[in-house]
């Protein structure tokens, strides 16, 4: 039975890792751009491609950075056996609207290729994979609410098939300046200190205490 070994959460102005608040942005009302840039600096990252990403990708990227920093054996995990399973409700709608502004503007009609490439929700998976050289199984699913049962069942299917040894699974949502990312590191090593079984109930519980 896979376990939730670690998790990271970004919500509103805070970053939480394994239940501990590790960052809180000074300005609660800050837009996602300012928040993401501040968190990037706080985490002392050096990855220039970050600034080209759309908001959904920035959010997922930062949550994954924080999560994987907390995983001591990530370097030893085979990257072709590492999975990435994400969900949200609004897909890439924030960027879809930004892109469409470049199409539907009568005076200034210059569709932007750099925006268009981000009008797919799974691009955030691609960005995380590029950053951490993850090449394994993945999926982006859409659901009005976080669907703990579906996420758990499918990820367990992939574990049962031995298609992955470990996976990042969770929720990454950005729309209307509402941001919410909850990423779990799921692996097959029971007996880890603080590890929780990966079940619909434990996912739901983690979700509920942080929403």
């Amino acid at each position: 039975m896979p376990v939730i070994a670690h998790y990271s959460l970004i919500k509103d102005d805070a970053l939480v890792v394994d239940g501990r608040a590790t960052y809180r942005h000074e300005d609660k009302e800050a837009g996602v751009g300012a928040f993401a840039s501040a968190l990037y600096k706080h985490m002392e990252l050096s990855y220039l491609k970050f600034f080209k990403m759309d908001n959904l990708s920035k959010l997922g990227f930062l949550a994954a950075e924080a999560l994987l920093k907390a995983v001591p054996d990530f370097a030893d995990t085979p990257k072709d056996k590492t999975g990435l399973f994400l969900m949200n409700a609004h897909s890439s709608l924030d960027t879809d609207e930004r892109y469409y502004e470049t199409v539907a503007n009568d005076e200034n009609n210059f569709p932007s290729p750099a925006l268009f490439v981000y009008t797919l929700p799974n691009i955030v998976i691609g960005e995380i994979c590029i950053r951490h050289k993850i090449t394994g199984e993945h999926a982006f699913l859409l659901s009005e609410q976080p669907d703990a049962t579906l996420l758990c069942n499918y990820v367990r299917n992939v574990f049962d098939e031995n298609a992955v040894d470990a996976a990042i699974a969770g929720w990454v949502e950005y729309y209307g300046d509402k941001r919410h990312a909850l990423l779990m590191w799921v692996n097959r090593q029971p007996g880890q200190v603080g590890a929780t079984e990966f079940t619909p109930a434990t996912i739901q519980q983690l979700w509920t205490i942080h929403s």
Partner: protein
Amino acid sequence: METLITDLKTQIIEHLNLEGVSPGDIDADEPLFGSELGLDSIDALEIIVMLERIYGLKIKSQEEGKKVFYSVRTLAEFISENKGLGVV
């Protein structure tokens, strides 16, 4: 020409979201692509959009694009040679 080169550097930095890069960091004669700026194919497409939007100029072929996009100076030369021929 030098003003145009400085303008272009600023526009490229803005359009391509080159965080932490200032116009002084870009050498007008060095290759734009394959340099430390880390530009890729999407950046090339964005520069095409930028040329159309700001200067009303279109790149006609891939071969022309390769020559024009070599450096900031070749871009500036292309713009000053073709100014007035574009739609603006």
